[in-house]
Subunit: 420 residues, 2 copies
Amino acid sequence: MTPTRPVYVVGGSHSTFLGRGHPDFVWRKHPDFGTRDNPGVEEHLATALQETWALTGVAPQAIDKVYVANFLGELFLRQGHLGALLPRVERGLSGKPIARVEAACASGSVAIAGCVDALQAGCDVALAVGVEIETVGEAMDGVDHMAAAAHVASERGHDRFLFPWLFARRAKAYKEAFGATSEDLGRVAVKAYANASRNPKAQMRTVSMTLEEARATSERNREFLDDEVLRPHIRLSDCTTFSDGASAVVLATQEGLYRLGIHKELCTQIRAIGHTVQPMGAVLDPRRMSNMAHAASIAYGDASITAADVDVAEVHDCFTIAELQITEALGLAELGQGAHLLRDGATALDGSVPVNTGGGLLGFGHPVGATGVKQTVEIWRQMKGHAGDYQLDRTLTHGVTANVGGDDRTAIVMVHRNVT
Amino acid sequence: MTPTRPVYVVGGSHSTFLGRGHPDFVWRKHPDFGTRDNPGVEEHLATALQETWALTGVAPQAIDKVYVANFLGELFLRQGHLGALLPRVERGLSGKPIARVEAACASGSVAIAGCVDALQAGCDVALAVGVEIETVGEAMDGVDHMAAAAHVASERGHDRFLFPWLFARRAKAYKEAFGATSEDLGRVAVKAYANASRNPKAQMRTVSMTLEEARATSERNREFLDDEVLRPHIRLSDCTTFSDGASAVVLATQEGLYRLGIHKELCTQIRAIGHTVQPMGAVLDPRRMSNMAHAASIAYGDASITAADVDVAEVHDCFTIAELQITEALGLAELGQGAHLLRDGATALDGSVPVNTGGGLLGFGHPVGATGVKQTVEIWRQMKGHAGDYQLDRTLTHGVTANVGGDDRTAIVMVHRNVT
């Protein structure tokens, strides 16, 4: 859809995404184990919100409508009803219309899409917040929780590690169809970790990943699927791991900006949203992300742009294969050519269309409910010069975010335009 | 908010709400136990959708946007991402923008509110669906799942039965403040079961409930809280029980009706929505529902009506005390006078402002995600003459739905107007 009333991204921020790999993350072998806890859901939310207010100058009282994106609060925390948790964290939001949305790993973009609708419906300032806590409990329980994004009744039995299995199926089909290699996939992880090393909020900011490590199985980079056929097609370095984090973004209409006293030159604009959903359990062609391609075609059409207009992209690299398939679904490369785009350096920070400049899901971290919100904030940060050590040094006119729920079952593509 | 583009309720339907008490519900002592299963989430959704298409003549292909309301799919079914489950049930919805919303027991009204926003944003036909499956697993696990609607970290310890405890606190405070009795509360249940006996889709349609049974503790009507102080203030008959069910409703703009070929005289109109959220764990005055009163004041103001204009209401009687407090929050009775309104027969089927004509949550059943959707469908059914044996026989101009999430933490009030 194309907003009739222009929608501006006023700005936003994230908490530091924490999990295994981050030096501050407390786990069994951490020196602080037993003396300090990791931040909880309320602390992550509070950090993202406080930084958003500070950065934008917007007060919570100015917000007309709020959506909170979260996937697995019930399973990881036994906590639902996060719409009513939010004003507990930020009392200035008390009395507002707030609700939680969920579309598995695409929840964050659903929150933004809901805010965009609200801004068409008469609201002038809206807030999208995403949050996830995933590092509590046993790791295998976490793996099981994530399976709730697929069709449990018919798909859960594929493998103990269901989502790695689903994306290993993609990796195998892609390699066989297009001659790609494990090295091509490894290169996605290497770029992600390299970008994350410049990003102080990234989970993997201090973790190094060389192509030699990423492309082959080793003690450190294990294969782990039960399925012997798919096992060689995915390794630890191909996967995101559990993350905790929150992200928040303020959106406003022209009237909203006026009320807030904010110049639109400080903003980006959401030009169009493509949001398409396909039935669970029915992926017909694992070589490509056809649902994502459909969402992209809607977004590009509604924004009157083509893939050639895209200057920067945030894409959903939950697994390495996903980044390659999404760059193709977005038309940044032809089908089967995503690996070449990457190898040629086009998606690097100094390339023609940088992808996942802050580290993406693999490097920045993937607290599921936060991810879609984070993507939109990252495009805003790049376009408005807030990206610090990973700031791109050229003019950016159009950016794209591509957020996936499940195995290409929910796809949401947004076209962002710089306002100058 | 008041829709700028008028929003029409085209119509909708429900699956039969099933659970303990319903003759078709299979449980351990049912004659069909072991030979037949209860319908699952996909079957309930399919029934609600198929009946909605049949009743309205709308085809799924005509829908522009969909919200699915669900609270506890992850905990009861280990299934999330219900937005992508829906096109599995109804292939005609494939490729649409669909997402799940959640605000505990107010989820259904959030879905409708999201659709209303979408209809302001350029969509012309929208679908809200609500669903919940609650009868699987152990009953005490189900009780624990429901606690996810409250602030788990600070409130879970109050009682094994957290929500009954929270509403017993309300019952005790209300009785002490206003001189109400257990008989006043029992009368809510008696009305609910009596209305349900006329409703073929109601869970309790064959269960009788006399005032003698409802007002006092007995072997059949036990007290069950651990908390000795609050224990006398709630009995089984004061509570909804676990239900499975789904409800669906089609909403459209004037342009949508034209496209569908539907005359607006077949519709009701959503005139205004009041949606307010207060922080979890911070109920200051259990004698009243102040957040619900706030939501009602917004909805009435935006619709330019007063409580005196309300002809029929669907209110969130998750516990008997809730119906009394909500009739007061809606201004149908003065504070503390809800019990008198009921005793005087004003809220009965032949009263001046019938409340919960199909049995409400206590009698019809309370599959949590479905409830808010069901309320709006029920107002439409009454206004358009679809209510069968519980059809009111007089002109209805304004109706109100009042949906609650948690302990008055999310409140959503909608004003519906008949279109003639």
